[in-house]
Symmetry: D2
Subunit: 368 residues, 4 copies
């Protein structure tokens, strides 16, 4: 069934494998009249591309995007925007052995079980390369959101045991280091940690936080299409994510009601604010206008150069030690992917919310 | 936009408010030929209904389900199954004041912002009463899953600071106590904790774990309709859930690759098992045939009888102390709701997966 | 799979059979703030209900609608509107024989083939009674359309060989006679024709035309969700419809380009009009602001009291002569159903079109 | 909103304009394990490509398809199949004038109204070039259908006043002449007719019939996702189609019940056949296993080289005479497009029907 599409109104369709001709995405449902060019997209793709850091795969890809349709005279036409990123760096490699083995933590076994066979060269659709398409589409979503005043800020919040210290938080540092961390001291410690793991051929997990500011209230549709429900789906669909928190997250389970409730207060300018934000900007699945705060936890990449127990298709237990070009940490490259999924989710909820009130319908059709 | 529908093939549509005529659900896409009667549904509804415990709302509802369509001679016909649960216990109450206040932690403000006004009597669609419809539909989903051999077991895993001890786990205890906990000692401690909070008019958060056994491999559709992505959406759509973990969950972020990878081994009977299950039964968004393990974290109910700061619609900051019939803990009643959302998600992914392989298509149309 | 839902944003879910407890519909995605009460719906249901004419089934049903949810203080809340129409007139009847026979023109055979068995009492979901739910939902859709200034006018345009004469067209006659015809002379001739058929136990086909005035331009989404494509689907989904025309319809096939093109001209008030309307108000799948004109052709009801060849489940060819309470003509009762499907389609396209232009997005979020 | 996607399980997403870089389609939900290569697609594209006949546009395009993803070792992997057809023949042309005019019969006006502006170079998404993507996807759908034994045969049934004579029908002639007609005498007459129109700069309408043989029974989902309803949508979404008939079509309106009912009879081999097929193979929206018969009526292309009244954006009525490279008849090239839409609709209904019966579910999961 069609699993490579996302969104209801602003709907994307992605395709491509790491060892095929490229990856791509078609955006259907983008409003007309938005200025858009390849640079708008390239700047996000550059944050995801490999080969930029000692801690990411040495595989080099330029990841250049080409817009194939949907733009006329520099503006979106309201019709499908197709984009392609060609694969350029594919080593020849002997896959004979790997094709017969089910590696731990990889999708070898589940893809074979589901489809009857698999593209064993690079993970097929389970390759992280698939996220290139998400980032390209996310960049378009961000253009729309920015016109409403919405801003998305993601960053690495932890790598293994090393956590960002909130007191050291500097937003301008995020894209200033290899680890997409807003805390220079944490960067230093994390680099040491990763260097050691890399020497072992091991890998590390980590976490990403994301803040959305400038939110309008009212986004999210009760009861199944809640804003947080859709964010959770979008984020959990990113390959290695194993846990998601909204607002105070797991801490709410040990709080009492009086501790967890966010008290409203009027500001002098007449706006309503909350004294705290345990809700993370979403109440009853609907945005309340305060910042959205969410966090995802990412497992260490299963691609490690260490001896592991595995099975082959001949019914044998085997020992493997897979060499390759892999990342000891994928978290920093996933930051822009998280931002993309948040952007794609928000823009869809933003457009879906337009028809919620009859007043809005009348406004659009000039009958108010 | 339509937010009260869930699923693609096995698709439900729910309706109703706490202070209206009732709540209901229509299931469209249920396969034909399944034995189904009201008792199948009632037994799950009875696990959710209020008024059974000193720790749930004293509001009494019989929550009797009536099947309105889709069954003929005791079997599903393949056409829509409509079900209704009438509301029977509605106190008269003066809502004049509450209608003008935005209570902390409630949806008063977000509903007003989204829709322009709200049903202030009982939360409208944001009332927990809405989950009655989920449970009714979930019971039908479980019938289908059980024919495939899939079993879902949810339970309260913590209440406030009190956690279930895995060594004390007894499945048969789960529905034997007011708190749906599988550990009799934890029940005792939690009851003491809740009794104290209740006296204060305060409430408690908690967590729920859920295990799915008998899973076929291959369920879940890359890359956006992954099994874990859909579970995350379904679970996060439950009112008070603020965090979700799959498998090892947040712990993966501090693990290394060699620690997190689950090693495959052949069993003597030729089946492949994993030595560990950090993946929680899902790799690359596809079930691997091992048990699914997930956990949700639930905030304390915002309905407390304590003095709180709030705002009213006249632009004033006010102090409120809302009396009512509320639960000091909603976690135990949410266990069956979690099970329902897992069941609804699984049955949809099960049916969607049928067309994944051409071999299956040929099998169904007798061309193999 | 879920086939009883219709629409994307304004989405309905229908249920029920002729010989069950009733039929119903849930509307999800109706904007908030619209005045709505049961009378709004009942007046359309009354146009469909049986037993009002010598030419419709003598089965009497009051078809009283009850709104179960989604309305508060006389207005739509933006959450699901559930409605039910209880079945009240069910004769006891011995279905032993009919359960074993596949009647010509009925769904007996196809339902058995699809589902493995069928509700043989009254056609199950293939009963015309199913359209009650469409009409109820359509009445709500019309309320929204009327606020935009859109009006839908359907009528019987032919019964067997008797055609309405456009020169005699009087809109006010449509609901003034048993046949929903706007031409009193045609009514007289059609009544004679039907009386003769009824004596034979035979039935008649016919056609329905529908005009939509007050259309905004811009509705319809290229290339698959065109306005005419969605109208065609909605109308062809009505039980007995076998052909659909938009605008000049089949005549376009014998026209030349110069004959078929509708020439634009400016009116004195600056509005653009077309000199002709062969397009039927839709060009390239998008409304052009002129009236929509469409026509459907309806087969004679297969339920006739005449001896026919049929087959039974024992592998035998048999002769049958089914008695029952059936309509010699269903066309007049289908007029309001056609209107309902047009209304449901239009309201969905109206809401979907809101997010087409970035200008509209900015308008709704007050950023223009 | 996303209008360039089609299907629920076998879901395509198309993109591209006549004057952009190309057109393309991504198929998501194609089952794994089907042999597929570019030749399978090219042979259908070649039936649509321009420049092959004196009666189609002289614009030459090779229309070569490139498969970008979803195939491994010659077989579908079950993941998205992306295909692209690059535009190669784009004349430079001065569009200054045309950009300010609303031509009759074209989408100039409706696109401007909907999107605020338009790609005036070649119709954007309203160009017939968009159908290239439908044909490419349709070719894949046909591969699946052929494995079930389903065959789709479309042909031109009339051009202007010239109709195919059923007695002269020869299937092998269809792709043997410029007009895709199965009747050599009709071809001769139609060529004469078209030559005359071409000299005038005029164009002609026509009709296409399509027969589907080898149908399994049971396809189509009551009540809104009926097989004929979805066929009607798919076909009406093709640019110039203005009317659709299923089976006896408009004739049913003048028939009586006894004339229209198709009587079943057992054949000697135990199979049930119908003595006639007024239903066109679909009863109650579900296939009955007999051949599907449908017909579409296509308007003359509005692109004519004759003087016409039009309006410009300055508020003036003007006379225009647009030169260009257009088809005096588009019907023959639309035959393969009609086949494609039928194939895409059928394959989706085929896959959707798999989960209708619990027996099928158990069969796929080996629990029967």
């Amino acid at each position: 069934m069609s699993g490579s599409m996302y969104g209801t109104i602003f709907r994307i369709s992605t395709w491509g494998e790491s060892h095929g001709k490229g990856v791509g995405v078609t955006i259907d449902g983008c409003p007309s009249g938005i200025s858009l060019c390849e640079d708008d997209i390239q700047k996000d793709l550059d944050k995801r591309k490999p080969g930029q850091s000692p801690f990411s795969t040495p595989r080099k890809e330029k990841d250049e995007v080409e817009i194939l349709s949907g733009i006329f005279e520099g503006k979106t036409t309201g019709t499908p925007i197709a984009m392609i990123v060609r694969n350029t760096n594919q080593r020849s490699y002997d896959y004979t052995e790997i094709s017969k083995i089910y590696r731990p933590g990889h999708t070898d076994y589940t893809y074979d079980q589901k489809y009857g066979f698999r593209d064993y060269r690079g993970g097929g659709r389970s390759s992280g390369r698939e996220t290139t398409a998400r980032v390209a589409a996310g960049a378009v979503a961000k253009k729309i959101l920015s016109e409403i005043g919405i801003k998305i800020t993601g960053y690495t919040s932890s790598i293994g045991p090393i956590k960002v210290n909130k007191d050291h938080f500097k937003e301008e540092e995020i894209w200033n280091n290899f680890l997409s961390m807003p805390d220079v001291e944490a960067v230093k410690l994390a680099e040491e940690y990763l260097t050691k793991l890399k020497e072992q051929g091991n890998s590390s997990g980590g976490s990403i936080e994301c803040i959305v500011s400038g939110m309008p209230s009212g986004l999210g549709e009760p009861v199944f299409e809640k804003l947080d429900a859709n964010l959770a789906k979008g984020l959990m669909s990113v390959g290695a994510v194993k846990a998601i928190e909204i607002g105070a997250g797991i801490e709410v389970a040990t709080k009492t009601g009086i501790e967890n409730n966010d008290f409203y207060q009027y500001q002098e300018d007449g706006r309503i604010i909350k004294e705290s934000n345990n809700a993370g900007g979403i109440i009853g699945g609907i945005s309340d206008g305060s910042d959205i705060f969410l966090k995802v936890y990412i497992k260490p990449t299963p691609s490690i150069e260490m001896t592991q127990r595995a099975v082959n298709k001949n019914g044998e237990n085997v020992m493997i030690n897979v060499e390759g070009r892999h990342d000891p940490i994928i978290v920093p490259r996933a930051v822009i992917v998280v931002e993309a999924m948040v952007a794609l989710t928000l823009v869809d909820m933003l457009l879906l919310n337009m028809s919620t009130k009859m007043d809005n319908v009348l406004k659009v059709y000039n009958k108010d």
